[in-house]
């Protein structure tokens, strides 16, 4: 049995990065943050290890080094504010466009800098459009008083640096459309015109990450929003299909990697898709070099790389849910080998993500506990099947109408089943501190046991965590 240090060394580096961002958020003197991060990393390594493996100290010191250097890099990245203030006269490309409250927002990119434009509901530009814009560049809005939603962090996590208040805005008709944003736009138009609901909404969500408000509301009622958002589940399905297609080929790992990253690109680099892409890539690299890869280690490497790429992901609910859900999933799969007991995986993820979901969205639907038990395995078949039907329809092959109708029939039946379960269990669990503490401790316990930390050390760590975290929060906030 491997020691935690040998099994998941990236966990300790990830822990130091999370500590650094947590302390930065609490306004701790930046100079001491890397030091505290190293102490947390060293403390965890020592607390979790009863025995050692040969030449453990090399790994130990390498992790200590990374636990100092990477938080430094994170602090450097998060501290720099590269807002090119002034009056902008730009020719920029539309990257994304979506509804925002009663209005719409458009994300544009010019020379690697992304800006946000707030538009009237009638002003719609499609991704890939080239816009001529004149207007002052403003910083992103800080959180409003009395509101928990921090708009600045939300947009920063999406790589946006500033907003422009446009005096003049017009579509540049001379420029030919090119690039991934344009391809996404073309595909979206085809999906909108060639497919009918509910197939259209599911395909838009799973291929392009564009969620239809009606479908989003339904899934949030059923507690299955994760099936709608592009996530590791979707990337895993794509990888699985690619594996089935290329399994006999010599360079299958490279081909599967290519398919995965094409899919991630198509989804518009969604946080969870990006995380899953890195994770699966690690597994594939492991296969190429014939080295076993630890699931927990892969998740931690992926999550750390994402933070290094954009530290604002730390405050993104999508990133947090994605990482915590996958860590729970991998830990549970390691602890429970019995296939029959694996049916409990959905309730386990539901429990461990409860503190996050309830604190942000208000209440976690209880129906999700039951719907997820059947929906996750069912969607593993439904999604590829409807994607096939959509491909038939979009490519204009014979029997397109039959394919679309069949997919719609299956999806409608599925929705009725979910509605029925939601009617049977119409309750939701609101945020509650005792529940949240129990859920967090259960998640910690599962993760630590999965990396072979002895029971005594697990209990010491959880006990210490339950004392130290509230103490620090109280000390710092007061």
């Amino acid at each position: 049995m491997k020691t935690p240090l040998a099994d998941s060394p990236a966990l300790f580096v990830f822990l130091s990065c999370v500590t650094a961002l947590f302390l930065w958020d609490l306004d701790i003197l930046p100079g001491v943050i890397p030091l505290v991060s190293v102490l947390v990393s060293a403390g965890s390594m020592m607390l979790f290890s009863c025995k050692t493996e040969p030449s453990w100290f090399r790994v130990f010191f390498l992790i200590l080094f990374l636990s100092f250097v990477l938080p430094l890099g994170l602090l450097h990245n998060i501290g720099k504010d590269n807002i090119p203030e002034g009056f902008a006269v730009l020719k920029a490309k539309v990257i994304d466009e979506r509804p925002w409250g009663s209005r719409r927002v458009t994300v544009i990119e010019d020379s690697g800098t992304r800006y946000l434009l707030r538009m009237d509901p009638g002003q719609v530009f499609r991704p890939g459009d080239i816009l001529d814009i004149k207007g002052p560049v403003m910083p992103l809005e800080s959180p409003r008083k009395g509101s928990d939603f921090n708009e600045k962090r939300y947009w920063k996590a999406r790589g946006i640096d500033a907003q422009i208040v446009p005096y003049e805005i017009s579509r540049n008709r001379e420029d030919a459309k090119s690039g991934i944003a344009s391809w996404r736009s073309v595909l979206r138009t085809r999906i909108d015109t060639d497919l009918s609901d509910p197939l259209r909404s599911y395909i838009l969500a799973s291929w392009l990450g564009a969620k239809d408000p009606v479908l989003r509301e339904k899934h949030s009622r059923w507690g299955t929003s994760h099936l709608l958002a592009v996530s590791g589940f979707h990337v895993g399905l794509v990888a699985g299909i690619a594996f089935l297609l290329f399994r006999r080929l010599r360079y299958r790992a490279i081909l599967i990697s290519l398919v995965i990253w094409l899919y991630v690109l198509l989804t518009g680099f969604h946080a969870s898709a990006f995380r899953a892409g890195i994770m699966l890539q690690m597994v594939l690299i492991g296969e190429i070099f014939r080295r076993p890869v630890s699931g927990i280690n892969s998740v931690c490497v992926a999550a750390t790389l994402m933070l290094l790429y954009n530290p604002w992901y730390f405050w993104d609910i999508g990133w947090r849910l994605s990482v915590s859900a996958v860590l729970s999933l991998v830990s549970f799969s390691r602890l429970v080998r019995s296939t029959r007991l694996r049916i409990a995986v959905s309730p386990v993820i539901w429990t461990t993500t409860y503190p996050l979901v309830s604190s942000v969205f208000g209440a976690v639907p209880l129906a999700g506990l039951f719907v997820n038990i059947i929906s996750v395995p069912a969607f593993a078949f439904i999604l590829p099947a409807i994607a096939f039907c959509a491909l038939v329809a979009l490519s204009g092959m014979p029997f397109s109408g039959v394919a679309v109708n069949t997919a719609n029939y299956v999806l409608s039946g599925w929705e009725q089943l979910c509605n029925f379960i939601a009617l049977l269990v119409p309750y939701g669990i609101e945020w509650s501190l005792p529940f949240a503490v129990i859920a967090l401790n259960s998640g910690c316990l599962m993760l630590l046991r999965a990396i072979n930390v002895p029971w005594s050390r697990v209990l010491i760590f959880i006990l210490a965590g339950n004392i130290i975290v509230p103490f620090i929060s109280a000390t710092v906030v007061v």
Partner: protein, 227 residues
């Protein structure tokens, strides 16, 4: 005790030490350095209970601003905004601009002031706008208790909002909203106020180096000398 179990205990002690040290460091360095004064400048002011009652209870800085917005917006009316808001935030609160709004005639980026009235003109309304909101007498006391700004970045024609700037209370940022007033001139205006007190009339601005007759005439419709 075997070497292995000794090492295990050492690791346990080391781990606990690291966490305790991290906690101590965090609690020691928490909070910003400005939390407490580093030196005392004199005796602390003392208040009697009566005097305390007279002190303003509300923190004016943190109170929301109340803005009145009319014209070509979806939902004209009175809205509360965060202090230091800009016009586009008020427009957003009011549901956004209507299609008839003169988009180039309003400076959406301009800074607002508490209690001001903003009118978003329509495309056909420009001339009426000036008549309505810029009174001939620039120091009358009807609408002009509000701050003001006017600018059209693209043409020389003037579009108007009835927020006018009080040269006796405006800060450097608000002064810089005026056409032709940069940071240096704004600072000179504030210096003048410090040395000579408030401006009695707008024409006193001519004493500021950097403001000539031409510039004064340019900015006159958009300023007033408040009490």
């Amino acid at each position: 005790m075997s070497f292995r179990s000794k090492r295990g205990l050492l690791f346990l002690a080391g781990g606990i030490f690291c966490f305790v040290a991290a906690t101590v460091i965090v609690s020691f360095f928490s909070g910003s350095p400005e939390d407490e004064p580093t030196a005392k400048a004199g005796p602390l002011p003392s208040f009697t209970a009566e005097e305390k009652k007279k002190l303003p209870e509300k923190n004016i800085e943190s109170e929301p601003w109340v803005i009145y917005i009319t014209g070509e917006v979806r939902h004209p009316g009175i809205y509360e905004l965060e202090p230091d808001s800009r016009l586009y935030q008020a427009v957003e609160k009011a549901g956004g601009l209507l299609a008839e709004a003169d988009r180039t005639g309003v400076n959406l980026a301009r800074r607002l002031e508490d209690g001001c009235h903003v009118h978003v003109p329509g495309r056909s309304e420009k001339s009426v706008e000036i008549e309505t909101f810029v009174p001939e007498s620039h120091q009358s006391t009807s609408v002009e208790t509000d701050s003001v700004q006017v600018e059209n970045s693209r043409s020389s024609s003037v579009s108007t909002q009835n927020c006018r700037i009080d040269i006796n209370s405006a800060g450097p940022d608000a002064l810089q909203d005026l056409v032709g007033i940069g940071p240096v001139t704004a600072e000179k205006i504030i210096d003048y106020r410090r040395k000579h007190g408030k401006f009695n009339v707008i024409n006193e601005l001519i004493r500021i180096k950097g403001i000539g007759e031409k510039k004064l005439e340019q900015i006159r419709p958009f300023i007033y000398a408040g009490p």
